[in-house]
């Protein structure tokens, strides 16, 4: 079944969780790293996406810890989430490849691709 494309925050959050389970602030920092400092998730956006991903079964709670009397909940990717991320990655790669091919053909991009 084909799904609608993931939004950038959703894609980046799933990517952050693909490596290992992480807590909320860990995800924020990892997304900042993955996006080369371009995407800084705000709490409202982060928890809106996490809630939806949990409801859709793409992520789940890995464990909970209390650090300095604060709840720290770690999230991990589910099998379904990994499948969805792989599907989206393939879609983006196909689109990027097609865009590069056409740009090269039109002479807007050197044959070797972008540096």
């Amino acid at each position: 079944m084909s799904h609608s494309p993931l939004t950038e925050p959703t894609f980046l959050i799933l990517t952050a969780l693909a490596a290992e389970p992480q807590h909320g602030y860990g995800v924020v920092e990892d997304v900042l790293r993955i996006s080369d400092g371009r995407v800084r998730l705000r709490a409202g956006t982060l928890y809106g996406v996490l809630d939806r991903l949990r409801a859709d079964g793409l992520i789940e709670v890995d464990r909970e810890e209390v650090v300095q009397s604060r709840l720290r909940r770690y999230y991990r990717l589910t099998g379904l989430g990994a499948e969805r991320l792989a599907e989206e990655t393939a879609r983006l790669r196909r689109n990027a490849s097609e865009a590069a091919t056409r740009l090269r053909r039109s002479g807007f991009m050197p044959q070797g691709g972008v540096a």
Partner: protein, 350 residues
Amino acid sequence: MSDADLESRYQRLLVWYPWSHRRVYEEEMLAVLVAGARPGQRRPTIGEAANLVVSGLRVRAGAAVTGLAGPAWADAAAVFGLLAAVVLLSQRVVRLFELAGPGSSTIAYLRVAGWCAVVLAVLVGLRRSAAALAWTTVLGEAVLLARQYGTDPVSAVHLFWPLALGVLAAAALTVPAPRRRAAAVLQAHWLLAFVFGVGLVQAIMVINVLQQRTTWSEGGTFYTFYGLENQSEAVLTLWLAAVAVGALAAGLAVLTLPAPVRWRIAVLVAPVGALAATVKLTLPGWADSNFHMGHPIYLVAVQWALLVVVPLAALGLGAVLVQWREQFARVAALGRAADRERLLIAPETD
């Protein structure tokens, strides 16, 4: 100014989220917000505040949509669709007699047939057919009303509320529901009580209309009470008692419904009441002008807007109030349960 102040300010912003979301994520969100704050930051930045407000409202909207898709709204829609169709059918039957006796108007008979078919379709479990019949009948009635508005806008505007009730009934019957759900939720005996109640009230109205013709042709003294007229005070009292019994029976049928369904039915009725009240309270001057000018004066854009906005606002406000009421009840129940648990763990010694 400390981290605790900053945290409490973030916490205040989180009230934009519904309780169901805060219950799960509030603590985590606070931790993320505090961890992401700059050293020495005293209050949330405009960006953070805007993000929390917009995200909170988005979650609230999502929760409202989920709530509307819940079984209580589906049950309320099914029951409301049936009850509204019964009321409209009874009203159309009375209209037959108001139009100088049966046989006077094919269209009036068609309207009776339309709502009668809707009621029967609901009762035998043909919900989709009932919805299609209701929409067809309402559409026909809207066309008739539009024509009437062209020549007699005042009487047409006073008939807006039954049309609104018809639209709501048709919309309610369009909501997917299990077969014969309305009868199952309402229960057969209470459905009969409602039909009896509405029938009794409308029967008195028919008798009153027939009686009026005699009274007016014969002349003499007669007693009146809100449109009911009779030459005998005793008979008029009897009629009033019958109307009260009918209203009580119909009201009890609705009042015995489960609370979530009952409150939602009230919400569905609210726009009809709001429309009737708006016409009554805001348009008497316009109706007077029509009466005295001798030619039709039509509603202006502001008046139309009022007739649309007020009922929609009543519907929206009602839905929000129902949600708040149930949320409050849930929190209160949780509080009671926690209190009981606390007592079981550490019984009070006094």
